[in-house]
Structure formats: structure tokens, C-alpha cells
């Protein structure tokens, strides 16, 4: 039980995230096609304003040294460059255009009752597993 209770707040944050994904149509296969075909500003507006909001928030957190609700310091680990950012990024882009979903929306799409997406998700888990399995042989 003591493992579950501290995580309830993340469950609630996830519920909020899921509602926003639906209301913003971010999980729509059709919206993703529109975005990549430059037929609508919608997704660019969402991603752009989300980044801007995130950026301002992080600046505010750093400037005022805002702490977590448990009063611990907020430290964000930096991202390290490796060639996988390029190769993996392209491969993910291919998959994103086909399935119309990134990992978050995969879970959300299942929530809307598109149960067949469970197969897409299982396959994505398989893809991650395969990456782990052949990782040492890939250029990084």
C-alpha cells in the first residue's frame, strides 16, 4: 500500500494529461496526417505553445528556486547527444506518420475504446525490447 499512495498524484496528473490529449485532438491519426502534410496549423500551434509554456515554467522554477511539494530541490538531468537521436528519431518519425500516435497517445487511443491499438502498443513494447536486445550492435 505504501508504494501506491505516493504515486496517486502522478495518476491524477496522468488523468489530466489524458483529458488534454483528447480535447486537443493530439491523439487523432487525422490531425497527425494534416500536420505532416502541412494542411493545418493545429498541431504546430499545440506543440509550439506547449514548448513555450514549458520553457517559461522551467525558467520560473530556476529563477525562484521553486522546490517540489516535498521541499526537495528540482534538478533536471541534461540530455546527452548520441547518434541514436538521429537514426532513432527518423525511425520514430516513420512510425509516428503511419500509426498517427507517439507513445503517450497510444495509451490514450486505447482509452477511447480503439482496442485494436493494444496490438500497436504491444508491438511498440516489442520494438523497445528489440532495441535493448541489439543495442550493442547499433551505432550510438
Amino acid at each position: 500500500m505504501n508504494k501506491i499512495y505516493p504515486n496517486i498524484k502522478f495518476l491524477l496528473a496522468g488523468i489530466l494529461f489524458g483529458i488534454i490529449l483528447i480535447k486537443g485532438e493530439v491523439i487523432s491519426w487525422f490531425r497527425i496526417q494534416e500536420m505532416f502534410r502541412l494542411q493545418s496549423f493545429h498541431m504546430y500551434g499545440i506543440i509550439g505553445s506547449a514548448i513555450l509554456t514549458g520553457m517559461i515554467s522551467i525558467q520560473v522554477i530556476k529563477k525562484f528556486r521553486i522546490r517540489t511539494i516535498d521541499k526537495t530541490e528540482i534538478i533536471i538531468p541534461p540530455k546527452k547527444f548520441q547518434k541514436g537521436n538521429i537514426y532513432g528519431g527518423l525511425l520514430f518519425g516513420f512510425g509516428w506518420a503511419i500509426t498517427g500516435a507517439c507513445p503517450g497517445p497510444l495509451f490514450a487511443q486505447i482509452g477511447t475504446g480503439a482496442t485494436v491499438v493494444i496490438i500497436t502498443l504491444i508491438s511498440a513494447i516489442g520494438g523497445t525490447w528489440m532495441y535493448g536486445y541489439i543495442r550493442d550492435r547499433l551505432p550510438h
Binding site: I15, I20, I51, F81, I86, S123, Y131, G132, Y133
Partner: protein
Amino acid sequence: MIEILRQPWPWWVSGPLLGLTVPILLILGNKPFGVSSNLRHICAACFPANVSFFKYDWKKESWNLFFIAGTLVGACIAWTWLSDYSESTLNPKLLTELSSYGIHDHSKVVPVEIINWSSLLSLKGFIMTVFGGFLVGFGTRYADGCTSGHSIMGLSNLQWPSLVATCCFMAGGFLVANFVVPLILKL
């Protein structure tokens, strides 16, 4: 009132709200926003198979599994009670082209005419779900993040590797959506 609640939100409402996930997770517990790691945690929890990449204490990251379980629940709530995709503002040009491939129903989050249980065994259905999903899972882990971890969290924190990754996501998506997806849909 309920009608307004049910309509999809414009980008300038949903975008900033989505961005607030970043400070919310940081303030709730110093957690960096990122969804694709969950696929790795699921591998580590269910089938580590002695692969070193999956030998770590995934339980320490269980907050993220709670987050993603919440995402599924939230989507279910919003879809059931708060949502109406029937009056779509999708580009008519796209809809005309899609109808030439037999896709007429755009009231769901996926094109149900081609992505459904009975189409799974057809070549088209297989590519759209199994093959596409594999690329998403393999690519995000190889890239060390997805749209949330790199494009939103990484760019918000001014990380240049995330900019590289995001440009590659977009480049890969452009290429496939414009030149390959039409071929798949014609199958």
C-alpha cells in the same frame, strides 16, 4: 454549456495546458516528463530476459507507469463524457483524398475502416498497426525519447540533442506521411 464543453479545444487552449505537464511533474516530485521510458519499464518488469538494458530497478520509475495509466483513464473519461469529434475542422483536402482510399469515418481517433481487429491480418492493417508500432517503440528508445521527452521536455529545457531528435522526428514523419502512407493506403 455542456455543448461547449464537448467541443474540441482550440490549439491555444490545449497547447499551454499540455506544456504545464512539465512544471506539474517537476513540482510533484522532480520528475522529468517523458512517456516512452514506460515501454522500457514494461520490458524490464515483464520480460528482462537477461538483457543488460533491462536490468535496472524499474520500480523506482513506477511513478511514470501510474502517470501513463492515468492517461488511459483520462482519455476514457474525456472520450466518454466530454468529447465530440463528429463536427471536425479537418482540412477538406485531406478528407477528399482519404475518401479515395475508402476512409470516410473520421469521428474516431483512428481511421476505423482500416485500423480494426479484422483488418489486422491484411497487409495494410498489419503495416498500420504492428509494423508502425514496432517503429515507434524501437525508434523512441534508440532516440532516447519521444515527443514528450524530447520535443516538449527537452526543448523546454533548451537541450540541443532534443532539437536534433525533434527535427529527425519531423523529417521522418514528413517523408513517410507524404510519400509512403498514400502507398500503404492504396494497398
